[in-house]
Structure formats: C-alpha cells, structure tokens
Symmetry: D2
Subunit: 351 residues, 4 copies
Amino acid sequence: MEPPRVKVAVVGASGYTGQELLRLLVVHPGVELVAVTSRSEAGRRLETVFPRLRGAPGASGLAFIEPTVEAIAASGAAAAFLALPHGLAAEFASPLLRHGLRVIDLSADFRLRDAAVYREFYGHEHPAPSLLAESVYGLPEIHGERIASASLVASPGCYPTSILVPLVPLLERGLVDPASISIASLSGASGAGKKADASLLFAEVNESLRAYGAPKHRHLSEIEQELSLAVGDTVRVSFVPHLMPVTAGIVTTIFCNACDPDTVSERVAEAYAETYAGRPFVRIRGEGAFADTKHVVRTNFVDVGWSVDRRTGRLLISSAEDNLGKGAGGQAVQSFNLMFGLPETAGLLQF
Amino acid sequence: MEPPRVKVAVVGASGYTGQELLRLLVVHPGVELVAVTSRSEAGRRLETVFPRLRGAPGASGLAFIEPTVEAIAASGAAAAFLALPHGLAAEFASPLLRHGLRVIDLSADFRLRDAAVYREFYGHEHPAPSLLAESVYGLPEIHGERIASASLVASPGCYPTSILVPLVPLLERGLVDPASISIASLSGASGAGKKADASLLFAEVNESLRAYGAPKHRHLSEIEQELSLAVGDTVRVSFVPHLMPVTAGIVTTIFCNACDPDTVSERVAEAYAETYAGRPFVRIRGEGAFADTKHVVRTNFVDVGWSVDRRTGRLLISSAEDNLGKGAGGQAVQSFNLMFGLPETAGLLQF
Amino acid sequence: MEPPRVKVAVVGASGYTGQELLRLLVVHPGVELVAVTSRSEAGRRLETVFPRLRGAPGASGLAFIEPTVEAIAASGAAAAFLALPHGLAAEFASPLLRHGLRVIDLSADFRLRDAAVYREFYGHEHPAPSLLAESVYGLPEIHGERIASASLVASPGCYPTSILVPLVPLLERGLVDPASISIASLSGASGAGKKADASLLFAEVNESLRAYGAPKHRHLSEIEQELSLAVGDTVRVSFVPHLMPVTAGIVTTIFCNACDPDTVSERVAEAYAETYAGRPFVRIRGEGAFADTKHVVRTNFVDVGWSVDRRTGRLLISSAEDNLGKGAGGQAVQSFNLMFGLPETAGLLQF
Amino acid sequence: MEPPRVKVAVVGASGYTGQELLRLLVVHPGVELVAVTSRSEAGRRLETVFPRLRGAPGASGLAFIEPTVEAIAASGAAAAFLALPHGLAAEFASPLLRHGLRVIDLSADFRLRDAAVYREFYGHEHPAPSLLAESVYGLPEIHGERIASASLVASPGCYPTSILVPLVPLLERGLVDPASISIASLSGASGAGKKADASLLFAEVNESLRAYGAPKHRHLSEIEQELSLAVGDTVRVSFVPHLMPVTAGIVTTIFCNACDPDTVSERVAEAYAETYAGRPFVRIRGEGAFADTKHVVRTNFVDVGWSVDRRTGRLLISSAEDNLGKGAGGQAVQSFNLMFGLPETAGLLQF
C-alpha cells in the first residue's frame, strides 16, 4: 500500500517559478496538490492556463483560486510553497505558519539573517523580521539537517545556488583566498520572470549577450552571507550576472586565487568528495571539465568542474544548473522532501 | 570623377571570416574585387556559394579560383586578405609580399613578436619567423600609424580586440593592477568557424551555455603580448572564453583591481577620451553602461562601458563587438583603408 | 558636386519598423533626416534610444520630438514616413499631404481600395476614406510607375509582399488555379512589434513553433485585393501565419494547383523573367531551390524558388524576405527612391 | 512487491533518437537496461558519453558495447530497440527475432507494406522483404491492438505521426476530400540527426527559416500508405517539411477541403472524441486552438487543434509533438509498454 501523500498548496503559481513547481508536483509520488492560487488566473483551470500540464495525474480537476490565507488553510494543505514577489511572501508566511502549515518560500524574504542587509539590498524595511531567526536557508547540501526540521525554509536564489555549491567547501577548508573572488554568471531569460517588459521580448534578448545588474545585484547579499558563514569572517566578492538567449540554465565561472596552486586541484577534489558524497544532486565533473547547462536544464542537478591556471595561480571553477530547477522549484521540492521524510530524490529524477 | 579602386584578392574565402570579408568588400566604394580563392569551391560562382551576395555590384561575374600565388598575382591585386588557417597563411604571405602585394593576414601567423611563444601556443614551429619583425599587429586604434605604412598586417583575433581596446589605455596609465586581471568572454558560434564538427551542431549549441579552452586559449598569447607592451613589463591574465548560442558577437567582462577606487571612474573616462577621441569605431558608453552585442553585430564598432565595485575595489569593464566584424573582417578592412589612404570608415558604416 | 539631399521625417520612430527605417535612412546618400517623432521618447537623443545608431552620420545631433503635424512641417521635410499604428496613421497623412509633403505610410490605413473591407478586417470605420482613391499600393515591382508619381504610398504588409511577388505574375498569366491557393507563412518575432506583451517574451517564443491568426489574419485583406486585381476576379485564399523563434525574416510556402503540371515549371520561369528582369530586389532562385531567410535578412531582397509536385499536380512556391526590410522599412525606402527620382537601390544595397 | 522489470537492449544508442530512448529508459519503472550498443562509443560508460544521464538509476555502471547480435542476445534482453540507420536496422532485426527478442525498430526499414515503395523512396532494395508482412506500424492510437501482440514493431517517422494522428479519423469518416490535402510541417534541428554536416551547424540553422526535401521527402511514403489505408483507396498529398531553429519539436499545418464546411467542425470534434477517448497521449485542443511545440517537447503528447476557413471551405488543422518524443523514442516506448503488458503511460508521464 502506498503511504499517504502530503497535501500541498502552491501560492502564486502563475509565474515561471510557480509553473516549474507545478510541473514537478503534478507527478510527484508523495504529493497531493490541493490548492494553487493566482490573483490573475483565479477561476481558470490549471490545464487551461498551462496547456503543457494537461494529462498530468495531479493537475486533473484543479482550478486556480484567489490567494487568501483562509482558502489555503481550508484546503487541508500541510505544506505551502510561496512563489510570490519579495515583500508579499512574508505577508503569507506568518499566518500560514500560525495555521500550522510548513512553508517553503521561494522569494528573498527569509534568506537573509540580518534585516538591515535586507533593507540595503531590497530597498524597504523587512516585512517580518521576527521570523528571520526561525527560517532556514534552503540549500540542502549545506543545511540539510536543519531543513529537515524547519517550519520555514527560505529557498535560495538561482545565482547563489550555482556559486555556493562549488565555493563553500573550498572556503571552509581555506583552499582559496576569500578576498580574491570574482564571479561571472550567465542566466537564461526565464530568470527575469514572466513580466511584460519590452526589454525581455524575444526580439530584444535573442542574438544579444549582455551583462547587467553589477556591481550590486540583490543576490549578492545572500551569496556573501553564506560565504562569510563558511569562512567565519566577512567575505566580499565581485559578481557580474549576464542575460543570455536561452530559456533556462545558469552557468557560473568563478575566478579566485588558490592558496597553494600546486596542490589545489587535489584538495578541491577531496573537498568536494567529502562534502558531496551521498548528495544525489551535485555532480562533480572533475578537473579540466567545464559544466554545460545543456546537461542540467529540467533537472535538479548542479554540475561542477574546475581547472587551475598555473600561470596566474588562480583556480577557475565552472558550475551549471537550471535556474528554475536546482535554482528554484526543484530545490524547493528537494527541501520539501527532507522536511516530510520523503526520499531526497522523490519526484526529482528526470533526465 | 571617382578615384580608381584598389584591386583586392581574398584568399581562402569560403569560411565565415572570408564570407564576412566578401560581404564588406562587394559594396566597398574603394575596392575592386579581382580574385577570390577557395580550394573546395574553385570554379563555382560567388553568388552560388553565397546566395546572400547575389545582386551585389562587386560580386557580379566573379567565380572562385584555386589558391595559387601565381593566379593571385596575375589578377593584378594590390592587396590580399588571407582568411586561411594558421600555418597555411604564412605560406602565402611570403611569396605574395615578394610579388609586391600588401598583405592583411587574418590568421594568427604574424600576430606574435616571438616565435617561441607561437610554438608554445600553436604547437608547431613558426613557418616564417623572418617576417615577424616586419609585420604590424593590426589594431588600428593602437597601432594605426604603423599600419598605414605596413606591407604585412596581422589582424588581431576576435577575443583580443574586445579585451585590448578597453584595457590598453588603462594599463598605459597605471589605473589598474596588471596582476589582478580576470576576463570572461562570451562568443557566438561563428567564432568556431565553419567546420563540420558534431559539437557545433545547432542541437548541441542551442540552449547551451558553457566555458571552454581555459586556462590557455591560443588568443591568450596575443592578449598578454599587447598588454605587456602597454605596461612595459610581463603581464599574465586569466582568460575564460565561453561558447554562446548566438551566431555572432562577443561580450567581454573584465575584473581588475583599481589602483585608486575613489578616482578610477573619472580617470578611466579621461583615458578613453584621450585615446579614442577621433577614432570612429570605439564607442565609449560611460560608467554604469553594459555593452550589448545586439548593438554591434554586423558593424565595425566596439562598445565599452564600466562600473566600479566600491565594496571590493574592483573595476568591472564591459565590451562588445562582432567577432566576425571588428573582431575579424571589419577590422581587416579598417587596416586596409589606412594602408591605402582611404577614409578609415570607407565601406564600414553599416548599422 | 553631390546633389541636394531630400529632407525626410520619420513619424512614430520608436517601434521595430521605425527603427529599421532609421537604420537605413541614417546612411542613405540621398537623405537628410530632419525630424524623428515619438510620443514616448520625445526629448531623448536618437543615439540614446538606439545605441546601435551611434556613430551614424545622419543620426548625429538628432533628438526625438513630439509627433505634431506643425513640428513635422516646420522641419522642412519633403517626405514623411509614417510608422504608426493603423487608425492613427490616417490622422497624420491628411494634414501632412495638405502641407505639401509626400507620404509613405507603413500602416494598413491606405492599403485597401474598399473602406468596407477595411472595416471588416480592422474592426472600425476607415478614418479617411476620401484618400483611398489617391493612395498607391507600394509594391514597386508591381506598381512602380504609379508609385513614382504618387503623393501617398501605402507600403504593403510584411506577409503580403512575400506572397504577392511570387504569385501575381503567375495569376496574371493563368498558370495556376486561383481557387486552389493555400499559404503557410513563417515570421520572426519582430513582426509582432515592440509591445510589452507576455506572450512575446523570449521565454515564450524561444523553442516554440506555432500557427496563429488563421483563418482571417488582417493581411489577408490586402493579399486577396492584389491577387484579385491580378486575376481580374475575386480570389479567396487560405493563409496560416506562424510565429517563429527568429528575430527577423519571413519564409512563405505556397501550395497551388498548376493548370498544366507538365509545362508549369518553364512557364513560371518565363513569367518571373518577364516580370522581374531589371528589378533589382527580386532574386529568382529557380526550380528546386527553397528560399532561406538567412540570405535575405537585413537586405531588401525577396528570394523566390519553386518545385513541381508531379504526383499531385501542385506547384510549390517558396519565398523569403526580411519582414522589417523588404516587408516594411526597406520597401518603403525603395518607394521613396522612386518617388524622388533617386536610383531604386539608393541606400539599400547592404549584404 | 514490484513486478520484475523487462530486460531491454538499445542498439545504436549514440544518436539523438538513441539518446532520447536512454533518457526515458533509465527511469522507466518497468525496464532494466541490460545492453546499449554503439560502434563509435564502445567501451565508454554511458555517463561519460551522455553527461546528462549521470545519476540516473538505470544508467549506473552501464558501458556501451559493440553492436553484435551475439552480445545483445547474451545480455538476456527480451526486447531490443533499434536506433540504427535504415538498411542497417534490418540486418539486426532478423537475427534478433530468431533469438526470441521482440524488436521495436525506429528506422524506416519495416514501416512500408510494399518493398517496391521502399525501393522508390529509399533508393535501394529492401534488405528483408520477408519480414514486411509480419511487422506492425507502431502508431498505438491507430494500431494499438496489433502492436500488443507483435514481435516486430516499426515505429513511425516523426513527421508522419504529426500528420496521421489528426488526419486518419477524418479520412476514415469522409469528412475531408483526400485529393485536397497540402501539408506544411516545421521541425527542429534534432530531426536531422547528430551528423557532422556543415549545413546543420549552429551558425547555419540559427536565424534561418527554410523549406527542404519537397516534393518527395522519404516520410511521404509512409504518410500516404497510412492515409490510403484510412480511405480504402490511394491517397496522394503534398508535403513540404521545413527546418527550424529549435532543438526539438514539430508543428504541422494541414490544409484540406471540408466535404461540408458548415458541419465539419462538429464532426471533427466527434471523430476525435470517438477515436482518442481513453488514449492518454492525444490531447484535443478544440476548434480555434493552434498547437504549440512548447507544450509538448520532452513529452509523449501530440496536441491537435483546428479551425474552419469558411471563406474557402477549407479545414485547417494544427498539430504539435516532440520529434524525438512522440515522433520517435517516446512512441517506441509506448509500443513497448503495450507489447509487454505494462501501463501505456509507464515511464512516459513527464511534463
């Protein structure tokens, strides 16, 4: 006999992150989808709004409802995924937690430990600072045990995931100079969200390569927070994101000074082996390998490779993930699996 | 009355660089195209091989011929563009120079001052080391006067152009630390050439983002040569190229430590103004601007912007060009214009 | 001495069609651009709004102005290109004509002879029916002589150009059955215009192939009008446009029954030779050739090929053009050249 | 307790079709992958050749072997998928059948009833004509019962699937004129296979729209065979395939004359409801809907919509599928499921 499924709500399901969550949850063997909300799509059937999902077992019969705490609680959901804009997510998290739901928030609202940093990077006061101490940064490879018992998980941003997975083990072991880190990340256009903005039209993004958002992209705040935790001291890095003409995928290239260029490659290999042995979603490609988004899009994997630039003493790291998968919806489902005692890979082994 | 046109040959015209040269030369007001060679296409009409060129004044009636020095010399050409693989280009350059032609070589054969560096990066002995002293590195914004009187111009690689134009003026003035430079460059697929290689198929490159070739891409040799000249000392940089799903265009992001972060932005602006005032093909976009390949593809422009990362003290530089235009065929035509006393912009003002 | 340049205004220059017009006009040897209007961009410099145009001789110093008839007339323009939405274009055409300007309208307002057909397809009364008799349908290969002397030219839609150029000569000669015509056209995303519409975002159009707008796309009205003129009787065709993940380009495939399958190929070749000999922008590729948008984008050419399906007796026709070039801005400039006695190819020979 | 898994071999697994089969089979709950062959990759691990598959339960430990009948039989496989070029597939099918394996062939070798038609379209004698009577055309929605008991299934081509699913029910019921059918199909570049051909390079296919292969593409033979079976008489259609700049996906637009334009829409809806009720992979989108490849790529669905062009009396049909999914690997797995008594959707419900 199958174990009972966890009843799940997705709040704010009409954007790209919500869409990815639904894509995963409608075939997740441990999930019963009981509520999906969207202000703009309320009343319409899931299959009408997302024709791709027609025929999915978990989508059948569901319609979008208005996003109210009462309706979500009344659905019987034990867990709620919040795929809402920052600021708004906090408004739902508090009452849903009071109703006894466990919350996985995909916005930035609960990622930062320090409300002052939130204000600096997001431009407004934190909407629920009292919850910051309680929330867990939802990177399962780093904070897996705390996620398992958390009521409120703040799922990481897409860029941070691609940067923290390869860097944290190296900083924890002192293999590279924390003051020397420069990061170029390239992201597909879905990372900008499904908003009607002329600069994101096909004819504007296609055949275009461009940096944006530097030197102080919002994700820098959580990147530096987690890197600083790994080092035990304040870390500042340079981060330049780029908008790329692909639908999905992030590839990140990290330049940093190796503390000992002669041995760094072996020690990096060891660090990854120690940290990620038994972690199903980190694939270490080894020295000389460059990660390719083509091998990770629509999966929950993050691939990591590196090479050593002996002429300059730098370590060059390459990682790839799906910005909507491991960088958003997939990773949130991975945390959900840990929170509800399901296999970490449940519903996530697609290739 | 129109001045007489310069008779021109294009040697090795069937690849992407040759194709771009032809695209420009068939409507160049100062050029009469008298010979185009291709081993594989000999005997076929230009318009048959490149349907795009049909209807161009300068293409009418021309057919590809076998690439022999005799035939090229017999065509009456005063100038020859070599769009040949490295190694092979040198075999044509020497005899064509002896026949009195002036040569613009788009291969790597004459870009390096030092035959030992050529051997290190290209894996074989230099085929004509005696010509190295004579050749001029064909970056008109840096070596314009020497190009004007040169018999042999070595047109730069695509990546180096996007890196040297923004960096040389800053290194000449000591505005950034030469030991701190890390470079991420992103290039369209035409940069890999028109070779039947399964890894370059549409279905392999599309929806893919990936680094390659680091830490010792061949272009690094000429990048470091020219940066070292600017500094007056050996410079080593980290360079990671990436293959992108666009047909054309390079965007380069440079991370480097500003010597004085507080004043660097003004001094960068001054350096560019001094160096590039009156240079028609460098467009300085200013602080806070990121260059976009969309604005430069199919032109001979290189766009440059920058920002200052005050938290880390780094200068972040952004440049964009067309890898086949300013990065190859367009720049070669620009050198040609200088060599033959034509306006620098002749045949190059397309938008 | 150079002849004086024609003073030109572009009204509504901030969309894709306006942008393409500007791209051509800033380097047109017979044009002095004296006014460019845009409600949304008024006051901003041309080079700021379109960074691509920076460095163009004709763009230097120009700024967008508010679109008022008085300002346009005061600029001294002898010709005005209208790149406005349908309905609005008519409001400018009448007073500009009264001010003595010659008008090339790129909207649909003056393409149809019959105001009732306009109402049927565009859903509102024609805003200036009295001008319909005066306007000339701006397809130079078909109506070249009338264009030369016209005050008001209605430049054709993008789809119609790709359909009329190959079909009109065949229908005029009775080579195919007018009742048998089915047309599949595929267009790049710029054809939908630069409007902030979520269905046109990169992440929606990329990796997507889809028909739309059938069976009664607005362009059908002018297609059938001109085909009916060619036959001398009412012609009805089936037309299915498709949205494609390219920035620019239209390829059209036409299925029709050959009146005599055995001889149709030769007679098609003759028809095209007779009609298009000496027409610089129609390139007949011959039997067995399929037109490719790659060879025509950013040019003013339309390429045409065909094959005969002897098993079914059908003629299969293939044409390609740039939807913004020969399908919009380029063709409008071609009409302008004819109207002002300039060479038909002036400013249009780019490859 | 789980039921035992069927042991499966994939023969010729290094191309795009083989890759898609592996992608599905490594997570198929009813499959144990016991042999994968590839001449070029023999000896290499599956995860090395296809980095995307690393971490898949069914891929772990597997390496490519040489394609010999003995080795495949020795693997204990009960079923073999053949992803080989036509001509070669027949050489494996006969001996594998004799060894008692059931064979699902994805080549064209066993699709045609008539060896003469095979010779006409494929240019050589049929390599195993005696097997033609035995093989079943593997379109489960049409020949599902016969597939269930077949030893040899000839999985359909990608284009035919997108054409037969919408047309067969209409022809069976006489709703459209079989002599009036014209078909435009648009396919992603993976349909051309993973062969090193310069015309399929990214820089050749990107930003290009073009027809090819008409009027006698090889798939026409099986299209007409199955349409003729539906009508009970010889049917000839016009078919123009197009190469599109997407990795995967086919959209097909069919023009045909409705026998009774006034009632055709209702009768089409009824025909689809009768034929496809309970068929999990055909999604009828209804009148006025156009199918979009974006909703079907990487799934086994085929979406179908239509509209009626009352002005011409034509029915316009739109279908979409993944050329590698429902058009190749997915459909083959669907037949496999039927052959081995597994749920039809086993391993195929991905979204």
